[in-house]
Symmetry: C2
Subunit: 404 residues, 2 copies
Amino acid sequence: MTLDEALALDADDPLGHCRDRFILPEGIIYLDGNSLGALPRATVGAIADTAERQWGGDLIASWNKHDWIGAPQRLGDQIAPLVGASPGEVLAGDSTSVNLFKLLAAALRARPGRTTILSEAGNFPTDLYIAQGLGRLSGARLRTVEAEAVEAAIGCDTAVVMLTHVDYRSGRRHDMVRLTAAAHAAGALMLWDLSHSAGAVLVDLNDARADLAVGCGYKYLNGGPGAPAFLFVAEALQAQLQSPLSGWLGHADPFAFEPDYRPAPGISRFQAGTPSVLAMAALEAGVATFAGIEMASLEAKSRRLSDLFIALVEERCPELTLASPRGARGSHLVFAHPQAYALMQALIARGVIGDFREPDLVRFGFAPLYNGYADVWRAVDILADLLGSRSWDAPRFHQRQRVT
Amino acid sequence: MTLDEALALDADDPLGHCRDRFILPEGIIYLDGNSLGALPRATVGAIADTAERQWGGDLIASWNKHDWIGAPQRLGDQIAPLVGASPGEVLAGDSTSVNLFKLLAAALRARPGRTTILSEAGNFPTDLYIAQGLGRLSGARLRTVEAEAVEAAIGCDTAVVMLTHVDYRSGRRHDMVRLTAAAHAAGALMLWDLSHSAGAVLVDLNDARADLAVGCGYKYLNGGPGAPAFLFVAEALQAQLQSPLSGWLGHADPFAFEPDYRPAPGISRFQAGTPSVLAMAALEAGVATFAGIEMASLEAKSRRLSDLFIALVEERCPELTLASPRGARGSHLVFAHPQAYALMQALIARGVIGDFREPDLVRFGFAPLYNGYADVWRAVDILADLLGSRSWDAPRFHQRQRVT
């Protein structure tokens, strides 16, 4: 494929107009939306309005007047169609880590006599750490097995199976329907972490009959650095589950200031404290970048972009080895290279932004709303040029910084 | 006192220049900074810069380049002098509710064999609800007694005493030194909720030898609606305590992606997930409104403002009954009135913003940085006028809205 052919694909792209919903710096090819989504064009105005007109002008009255109080539920309902959930099943707020804790603890309580949280060894660390923290507190036990062994390991002591839909490192995508059914067959609940899939690929929680899910607001949802996360609880389960982080905004009547906690009906019971209204305004602008977009077209473009990236790398960059699956995967790719860290630093210096993951991986994410085929072509062109010239091997590119 | 005398006090006020650090709407007397602090003049620029230049321009590199990653500790060190803590003892992030959960669970674990969280019956509900939620999970037990009975109730089963320094309703201020010593004498840890005191009155955690504290970012700290909260752990205790919300940013080496949680040294171990960078930028602008201010001068002005309010109300508004203590209290006042809700709605319609608290209380907060003596005089003048004319009794003022 030539650059002209890639530009022609962009011109024909039914999602091509979405790029204008973002502000991207000149001269940069941003392939890290899987870690931090790009800035939506509407965000700066949205947060300025929330701060100046709402907070500054209407002060405390804004909780009602601008429905600050309803933001977690309103945002949840806006996220729901992106993940195959129904209205009233999704709530925005807190971090992915805190939301995992709420749902894991609630799941354990809903399966009395069972003590195991089952997960995979390569899961994103915060998922494992949170389960370990809950275990120290409650006597539950985190058991991890290799990804391929999860299904067989679900047993009569398994209270909840916790898996990340798309692996943060390899991009491997689990079969949500099959694994959820396997958990249910053993009497366990199924919790999906959608951090690396929501907003990038097709997710259908209700079709899979998933029980619980969490996801990240600052990756493909474009909600801004450290944006509030979200959680999902299937409607039929909500009345049985109770959050251990039973803060006042999850109370049935928060402003009655009753002495005892009574969970709110529905998804609201999973709220804890007061969420940042400015952060919620930015997340709302991020979620709005999906307005009018079918998830199936996101999925299709994601696949075409990453397939093209693989084909071009394999044609022009034999020094790199694909470390992502060729089959079911999400919207990012990793390749192994013996000097992956220095290579990524050199790429960044040339304006191609991906990231490095231990021990020897370069990672590239493809955000279907703002990445195009010419981005892919140009990124591989620069990568091939760097590898050919060995200019990536300069000492300055080997100096380690703390990275995210 | 006349209005001219009040204006003369403002002209002589050593904190008078601080009002210009805020944007307050024309024609409004804002006496609700104890619920939502006013908008600092620098905030809109700070969040726009964080969004446009940092996020939009430098994207993922901002975690290092603009030290987003260090914000929880940096903000903590900025808050520390406002509450009598040392650098490295305070961490910003999460909500007050979530931070309470972390510290209560850690305290229980540090006092094995003891199962009681002791608090007072009138504590702010989220404090009680969070302790109840932790109890359901861990077997701990929340015991509440009346405020005056707390000291005598501390016993050999008390793991931690949890009190709010300044009561959200009455404004009554606990004796931090005496109650902390009483908790220690019984072998218990002492946790203070500073939500209604930090940034308004003198707080000296280290002088009181307090173990643990939490506090709110969106009241007197002016961090914006739902701003990140903060937590305090005395340095000597940090190595013994461990957060149950052991997310990846509390790990000793978060970006090594190790399979097992290892707590970070120092206060960082109390981080869970990724905080909102936009919310942290707004909180930083809020905390900066205290630059150059001695806490003792805040305390003195707070007292003078509320003493003046009491004197003028007692002189001009006999329909109201003071329900705050005349002695040790914080920076807000409550008065009882049989139709408190309608009275507050009528006051708000006249531009005096306070709030209503169940069952029959009107509440007024005095933020020493931006409220002045003439504000107090004018507020009571409008209050007296309303009460005299009974214009507060119109049907529209009786229609209940959900309030915060």
